[in-house]
């Protein structure tokens, strides 16, 4: 076996599976979105479904809603996650029990996480009960429903709950591998703990922070279960909207649903591109 082609041969099975399934999905969505559906007699390629998407107010609303949810939840999760990772690093001594605790939200599937939030934040959930018990609430209906609400507060909290431990674990793994002597050097040169964090720790851990941010942002942007279970009827997030359009029994609606999917996939690809660019930028600086 020639040395040069060996890695490609080793990569072949994975590439075939990923490329084969992913592209077949995308190609089908693309062709149907362009109006190519021979089964129902549509053969002419057209861009009218894309035009109707872009001019549709509901689409823009969904897009804005999805982006807002992802952005808010990811930014908060990253900030708190980094703080948590740093706290874990400073309190090195106890580990095992906390590690299991932090892994819990990661292994809880999203639909269960949505259910947990429903149990706490809905009008019959634990939070209004406690507030009522404390005399802060006068009646059940006084509690603003945070589930199925217009702004997606429940969705955001659900993602935050799931993602903070994830960010914390990724960043913690990274910073706990940073050479300890760096801290000694910094302290020796007269840096306070705060200075050490801002000028040494944070710059070094940017790559792990950025990559965890992008992963949770992209995930929450494209995920289906949580907004479907505890999201409002309007606006819907983009994946939920795409799925509901797809399940519309009128087959003539199919190209429209597929066009939504293509737009969704396209936005995900843009996120990948941004990920690659920012990561290489930060890695070069470090």
């Amino acid at each position: 076996m020639k040395k040069e082609i060996k890695p490609y041969i080793l990569l072949l099975p994975a590439a075939i599976v990923l490329l084969g399934i992913l592209t077949s999905g995308i190609v089908i969505a693309l062709s149907q979105s362009l109006g190519y559906m021979p089964i129902i007699g549509l053969r002419e390629l057209t861009l009218k479904y894309y035009v109707s998407i872009i001019t549709d107010k509901g689409f823009l609303e969904s897009l804005k809603f999805s982006l807002n949810i992802s952005l808010f939840s990811s930014v908060i999760a990253v900030i708190v996650g980094v703080a948590l990772a740093y706290s874990m690093l400073i309190n090195k001594h106890r580990k095992s029990i906390e590690k299991i605790l932090y892994i819990l939200p990661i292994i809880v599937p999203h639909m269960v996480a949505a259910f947990l939030m429903f149990n706490i934040l809905s009008q019959s959930g634990l939070l209004p009960r406690v507030l009522y018990y404390l005399g802060i609430l006068k009646a059940q209906s006084d509690f603003p429903s945070l589930i199925f609400d217009r702004y997606g507060v429940g969705i955001v909290i659900c993602y935050i709950w799931k993602e903070i431990p994830f960010v914390a674990m990724v960043v913690y793994t990274f910073i706990s591998n940073i050479n300890e002597s760096l801290e000694e050097v910094a302290v020796n040169l007269g840096a306070s703990r705060r200075q050490f964090f801002w000028y040494v720790m944070l710059p070094l851990s940017w790559p792990s922070i950025i990559s965890s941010f992008i992963i949770i942002f992209a995930f929450s942007f494209g995920a289906f279960e949580v907004p479907y279970l505890i999201g409002p009827t309007t606006p819907k997030t983009l994946p939920v909207k795409a799925f509901i359009e797809y399940t519309n029994p009128d087959i003539l609606n199919r190209p429209y649903a597929m066009a939504l999917n293509v737009v969704l996939a396209f936005i995900s690809l843009i996120i990948v591109w941004i990920y690659d660019k920012t990561l290489s930028l930060f890695c070069r600086n470090v």
């Binding site: 890695p7 490609y8 041969i9 080793l10 990569l11 099975p13 994975a14 590439a15 599976v17 990923l18 399934i21 992913l22 077949s24 999905g25 995308i26 089908i28 149907q32 703080a83 948590l84 706290s87 874990m88 400073i90 309190n91 906390e98 605790l101 819990l104 292994i107 599937p109 999203h110 639909m111 269960v112 949505a114 259910f115 947990l116 149990n119 706490i120 406690v130 059940q140 709950w161 431990p165 674990m169 793994t173 992008i214 992209a218 995930f219 942007f221 494209g222 995920a223 289906f224 279960e225 279970l229 983009l238 994946p239 597929m258 969704l264 996939a265 936005i267 995900s268 996120i271 990948v272």
Partner: protein, 299 residues
């Protein structure tokens, strides 16, 4: 006469004093103060916020009646557990079926991941950066966007609504994890041990089975655990490709959560979490038997 409350306060003050002295003397107090209290608060707050929803879940799973505005259930029962064990839903069978499906997915994922990870971890070649990004793609691209197209494609080639179809589609979210973790393992190990074996006259197969495989097995077990969890908790792809024919635990659980049947949904959720947790702990133990792998989160 001293009021009882004052008396109590005084007693309490003395008690605290004694305890403080004691702790100070033992050095515990000093150590505690040196560690920034804020960081402790952050950690305990996080632990509390993680555990609170799960505690509520357990309470719901064993409650019979929990009307508004009670903070705790008024009556407890084992109806949910009984439903799970004996119910018409065949829950145990479905649980075993899910475990079987995820097991098959895990094995296939690992078989595909090992060579790919080897290529990415050990060799330098053109387009390596692209491939590294490419294997992460399924994590970032929306499962809805590809899932729907895949369903149409699978209907055409006859894979929709079959066990095999679901296994194949599960590979998409699982492969990135498998490949990433094993790539790291290969990067750390390097090739030198294999060269040793080859120099000593071992054949390629011998090298693989007697040198490479034992060396990567801790990483392999970690990867298996994570891949299993990813497959096990998959809902959307199972739903859209399995089309109601392939019924996993997530598929049964979803309608209960959707309809808000809290007791049954809680029971399913508890079973789900406990099953995953047991698996993880077993894996952790197995890995520790080889050597201490610090963390599973390489991504």
């Amino acid at each position: 006469m001293i009021k009882p409350s004052v008396c109590f306060a005084e007693m309490y003050r003395i008690k605290v004093l004694i305890w403080t002295r004691y702790l100070f003397h033992r050095g515990v107090w000093g150590r505690f103060m040196k560690k920034n209290v804020i960081f402790n608060i952050v950690i305990y707050l996080a632990v509390f916020l993680i555990l609170l929803p799960l505690t509520v879940l357990i309470l719901w799973g064993f409650s019979k009646r929990w009307p508004w505005p009670y903070v705790l259930p008024t009556e407890y029962s084992l109806r949910g557990v009984a439903y799970f064990l004996t119910g018409t839903g065949n829950s145990i069978k479905i649980l075993l079926y899910s475990i079987g499906l995820s097991f098959v997915v895990t094995v296939i994922t690992l078989v595909i991941s090992v060579p790919a990870a080897r290529a990415l971890g050990l060799y330098e070649f053109k387009g390596k950066g692209f491939f590294k990004l490419f294997v992460l793609l399924p994590l970032i691209i929306s499962p809805v966007a590809v899932g729907i197209g895949i369903q149409v494609f699978f209907i055409k080639i006859g894979l929709a609504n079959t066990f095999l179809g679901v296994v194949v589609v599960h590979l998409i979210p699982c492969l990135p994890y498998g490949i990433r973790i094993l790539t790291n393992v290969f990067e750390v190990l390097g090739e030198s041990m294999e060269f040793q074996a080859r120099t000593l006259g071992a054949s390629k197969t011998q090298t693989f089975f007697y040198v490479t495989l034992p060396l990567i097995s801790p990483g392999l077990i970690s990867a298996a655990g994570l891949v299993f969890i990813v497959s096990f908790s998959q809902y959307f792809l199972t739903f859209i490709v399995g089309g109601g024919n392939v019924i996993t635990l997530s598929m049964v659980m979803f309608p209960f959560i959707q309809s808000g049947d809290r007791m049954i949904a809680s029971c399913y959720s508890i079973v789900f979490i406990v099953a995953t947790l047991i698996l993880l702990i077993v894996i952790e133990k197995r890995v520790k038997a080889y050597y201490t792998v610090e963390n599973h989160f390489y991504i």
